[in-house]
Amino acid sequence: MTANGKLVEVRDLTTYFPVKKGVFSRTVGYVKAVDGVSFSIERGRTLGLVGESGCGKTTCARTMLRLIEPTGGKVFVNGQDVFGLTPRELRQARRRFQIIFQDPYASLNPRMTIESIVGEGLVVHRIGTRAERRRRVAELLESVGLPAEAAGRYPHEFSGGQRQRIGIARALALEPVFLVCDEPVSALDVSVRAQIVNLLEDLQAKTSMSYLFIAHDLNLVEHISDDVAVMYLGRIVEMAPAEEIYDKPLHPYTRALLAANPVPDPETRRERIILGGDIPNPMNPPGGCYFHPRCALAAGCDGCDRAYPPLMEYSPGHWVACCRPGEAPAAAAPAAALP
């Protein structure tokens, strides 16, 4: 069971996708989309999950909610073992964990009214009478900053930001304790993003939900998260409180990611650490540390090309999977050769 007030606990989660080839769809290999990920989130707190496309952050979140079946590992939400539930129990448990999606245009059924979209969970779980449900939907819409009259309208009548509010209202309908936010603002206009971010923060303050906040915008993750985990090719390479990880990144990948992140201030001309090469094919990751072919520290290290370094607690609360955490790369780093 979960200990010390941890609302969400993920232990050694793995999700492998078989790769099939040929007429008989023989399995020729596996993509290790999530490969031994562990973390926990306390009540009322936010864990930011960052990484580049294909690193497994969305797969990780979806597996936690059993929208994708896991290959191994355990997930506890509110003390309940999510992977040990029967289908019927799972349906009940889903009231407690919800998700909001990236694309507010694709995630709302265009043929349903807002009332039936937001109220669908209430109907599925047989909560309240029709009149009570109607009142609840009106309340929910109000809590996300939409007029109650919106209930009778259809998704196409709303803008991107408003649709995202509808998606949030739907997620809140069953009073979840844990909310996965999968790139909730990246499809929105800059001027509308802040409205949604503030809304999510207000709702958390009011209900003490825990968030798993997935995003690739590092400035935004820094703003909203208590803790941040960085993923690379299916594994967490570094995890720490937000301030700590942004001020003192230890893993060379985190450093490169932060250095690549543009800063909205033309007065600071930072020195760019430019990471050479591309993300390797996840079906065939490099041996040893997955990052070592792009790593500026790998040249002087004799081990990271053979064994994957384990995630270790470098200082209290600051976890990193690297043989040489925190070391600055030598002046003439090989990774800087490619502009």
């Binding site: 580049e52 496309s53 803008s159 930001g161 408003q162 206009d189 800059v190 001027s191 509308v192 993003r193 802040a194 409205q195 971010v197 503030n198 923060e201 690739h216 590092l218 400035n219 935004l220 820094e222 703003h223 909203i224 937000a242 301030e243 942004y246 490169a256 990611l257 250095a259 690549a260 992140n261 543009p262 800063v263 909205p264 201030d265 033309p266 007065e267 760019r272 430019i274 990471l275 050479g276 591309d278 993300i279 490619l338 502009p339």
Partner: protein, 331 residues
């Protein structure tokens, strides 16, 4: 030519779309200019007209429903709007190169990347296949594609997103353009790949002394790449200035709010400022000042009279009736 010469000058450009639901004034009386070997960032949100501006410069607006209703586009003094279509074709990809957002959809999947770069060269110049191939390899080297002699025979799907964007840049630069139009060239890429491409574009701009029109919605990218900035809102230029002046002291309330709504490292966990309401649709731009329904400084005058772009401080233009008092009103 002196260093500050204007290579591309857009004056009073208006492009409207005539649709069944009405006239969309997507670009309305837009003026700006780009200096040689400098980058002008055209910033704005979706539907503000920044991409239509780029297409209008290239005369690629599909007619119907779109029409360039007025304005001049001077490329080194020559008005592109007056050129016959045949000459315009040699300008596109010749003196003006263009890079788009999605490298995957801009490249033709059934031809090798070498073929596509060679085509760009041979359309504009009288080069033999062999010469074109050599030039293509040289261009691929210029954009730092690894082992170009082999990669030249690759198909687009064999390359990663970052490499595809490098191919697009190689094509755009094959004929050494004087102006490069880059429409959200890094939006579809990851941050580490984005920084590679931005560094590449910066190096090439210096090397070829190109003027770059960089279209983006990302203010952080603007801060890193641009020399000058033009902010667009609802089909019009709201503000334009040199990049540091703009970030230091924005003179239009929209720019000011936009800057405040993005999270910054120095103000962790502080509540973000928001802009009320939504970005208007081009079919229903508000009358008078188009920002007035969302503006915290709105007055009667803003609802009645459209503000013109004017020089409020030296080199710093804004289209707002209240730019002079903004520093005191929005601290």
């Amino acid at each position: 030519m002196d260093d500050d010469s204007k290579v591309l000058e857009v004056a009073h450009l208006s492009t409207y779309f005539y649709t069944a639901e009405g006239v969309a004034r997507a670009v309305d009386d837009v003026s700006f200019s780009i200096r040689r070997a400098k980058t002008l960032a055209l910033v704005g949100e979706s539907g503000c007209g920044k991409s239509v501006t780029a297409l209008s410069i290239m005369r690629l607006v599909s007619d119907p429903p779109g029409r360039i209703v007025s304005g001049k586009v001077l490329l080194e003094g020559e008005d592109l709007m007056l050129l016959p279509e045949s000459r315009m074709q040699s300008v596109r990809g010749g003196r003006i190169g263009m890079v788009f957002q999605e490298p995957m959809t801009s490249l033709n999947p059934v031809f090798t990347v070498g073929n596509q770069i060679m085509e760009a060269i041979r359309v504009h110049e009288n080069a033999s296949r062999r010469e074109a191939r050599e030039r293509a390899i040289e261009m691929m080297r210029t954009v730092h594609l690894p082992s170009p002699e082999e990669r030249i025979d690759s198909y687009p799907h064999e390359l990663s997103g970052g490499q595809q964007q490098r191919v697009m840049i190689a094509m755009a630069l094959a004929c050494k353009p004087t102006v490069l139009i880059a429409d959200e060239p890094t939006t579809a890429l990851d941050v580490t790949i984005q920084s590679q491409i931005l560094a590449l574009l910066e190096g090439l701009r210096e090397e070829f002394r190109m003027a770059v029109l960089f279209i983006t919605h990302d203010l952080a990218v603007v801060a890193e790449t641009a020399h000058d900035v033009a902010v667009m809102y609802a089909g019009r230029i709201a503000e334009t200035a040199e990049v540091k002046a703009l970030f230091r002291k924005p003179l239009h309330p929209y720019t000011r709010l936009l800057f405040r709504s993005i999270p910054r490292a120095t103000e962790r966990r502080k509540r973000l400022d928001t802009i009320e309401g939504q970005v208007p649709s081009p079919l229903h731009f508000p009358p008078a000042c188009r920002f007035h329904p969302r503006c915290p400084l709105v007055t009667e005058r803003c609802r009645a009279e459209e503000p013109q772009l004017r020089e409020v401080e030296t080199g710093h233009f804004a289209a707002c009736h209240r730019s002079e008092e903004i520093e005191g009103l929005m601290k």
